[in-house]
Symmetry: C2
């Protein structure tokens, strides 16, 4: 297998480090292809556990200095799990829906938090098809001096090793699927209770919402939020997390975390 | 004034970008010393507003290419606000207490979220003086392959420009103070309701806690959490945010955000 830096069109991606590789081997062994180890690895008890797992699943362990030079030049990583990209149909349970998320760290954090709250189905919408006035929602990920501008971007790649890392390996514990538009998602998963998280003051406060199941918690892009038109879509109940006007908005992963916390509190 | 990269022992720090500089000028003008502008700046309506504010507050605007070469080499920043470091006594209202936070991004995000929930007093404890078995709490900020290890660190510097940036300027809207130990904090602010957020299953679920005011919400380090001994300190009510055992822990800023959301919900 040719070792090359991750690109969006690569067939495989990488779990960098022992912790992430163990998550891969334990929770998604069918996707694992190879485990690279550094010549400098310390073969301790953790290593033995990994070695046993690889034997059991028939996954080769290959010593390669080159792999680490290319994939983890910082030198603090001694194990890399190579896995084939995967995608599967979501369950009919509760979903988290991210519309055009653009930041790898946020996506990973949301996956980790969702897993913690038992939400294991994630839909990612590449483009918000419903057009409308964009909100002034800004986020720390917007370039300095450019906050407040609407930078329309395509959704982040969930297989980016940065997402895998920020998820702490929880990516191997969830189901996820990409959709080109929100309408495509709705067609695939109709008859659900949809809760778009908005900044509009006319939305219902999360304190007063009873989340009915199966639900879809819908969150917009870091810089632009959800288009206003999500408040008008039939069958959706817009929700707002009240905060003081001293900040423009909560950051995306924070809003998603609070939304997921509240929606799953009584389930 | 000599322009130099930020160091922990510098007397001044920097707000990089127009948005952060405007927050500085509007909310903490007494700390502002100089505003550097790039020769390439576009003198639009936002610039005019900043210019007027600087005149009004007698803060010099200095054109300097050098300042940007040194302080923002990436070249996407056209305004830098220089400010003198500040610290002030906390109010007797509700507090957020961070014990040895180590990550600048997390600290900034927590400041932004706290401001959004009206919590404008932050205590940072440099070292947890109460010793005890460390929890296995891990975080995405721990180095790859080293998660789960207890890396005892000193608290992050709140004036690091990365914190200023991640706070989206909310740092200029809050009061904060450093303490060497938690005991020092307790001595300075006695007779409060303290809620340490723990991972111990014996802690009370946040769903069942009624937060009495004035409260102190206490959160531990990213990698190690709060020492177990915080659960034993007299007068404190340990709290847990329940999550599945599929993740080790919520990330620090997420746990803090959810804690702050819940504690301020009814106030």
């Amino acid at each position: 297998m040719k070792i090359q830096r991750y690109k969006h069109d690569s067939l495989c991606s990488y779990a960098l480090g022992m912790t992430l590789t163990m998550e891969l081997l334990l929770k998604k062994p069918e996707a694992a292809r190879t485990v690279y180890i550094s010549p400098e690895i310390e073969k301790n008890r953790n290593y033995d556990a990994m070695d046993a797992l690889c034997r059991d699943k028939h996954i080769p362990i290959v010593t390669s200095e080159k792999a680490f030079n290319i994939l983890s030049p910082k030198g603090n990583c001694f194990v890399i799990g190579v896995f084939e990209k995967f995608e599967e149909r979501l369950s009919d349970g509760n979903h988290v829906v991210l519309v055009e998320p653009s930041d790898a760290g946020n996506l990973g954090t949301i996956i980790r938090t969702a897993t913690g709250f038992g939400l294991k189905d994630l839909a990612i919408i590449r483009m918000s098809a419903v057009s409308g006035t964009e909100t002034g929602l800004t986020d720390q990920n917007a370039p300095a001096g450019k906050t407040g501008e609407a930078n329309r971007r395509t959704a982040v790649d969930i297989f980016d090793p940065k997402v895998v890392r920020a998820s702490m390996g929880a990516i191997f514990r969830i189901r996820f699927a990409y959709f080109d538009t929100f309408e495509d998602y709705q067609t695939a998963y109709p008859a659900r209770h949809g809760y778009p998280f908005m900044l509009q003051k006319t939305s219902r406060s999360i304190h007063d919402v009873t989340f009915e199941e199966p639900f879809s918690l819908i969150f917009g892009n870091e810089a632009t939020g959800l288009p206003d038109s999500f408040a008008e879509l039939p069958g959706l109940q817009p929700v707002i997390i009240p905060h003081s006007n001293e900040i423009d908005s909560l950051n995306l992963s924070m809003a998603a975390g609070i939304g997921m916390y509240e929606a799953t509190k009584k389930t």
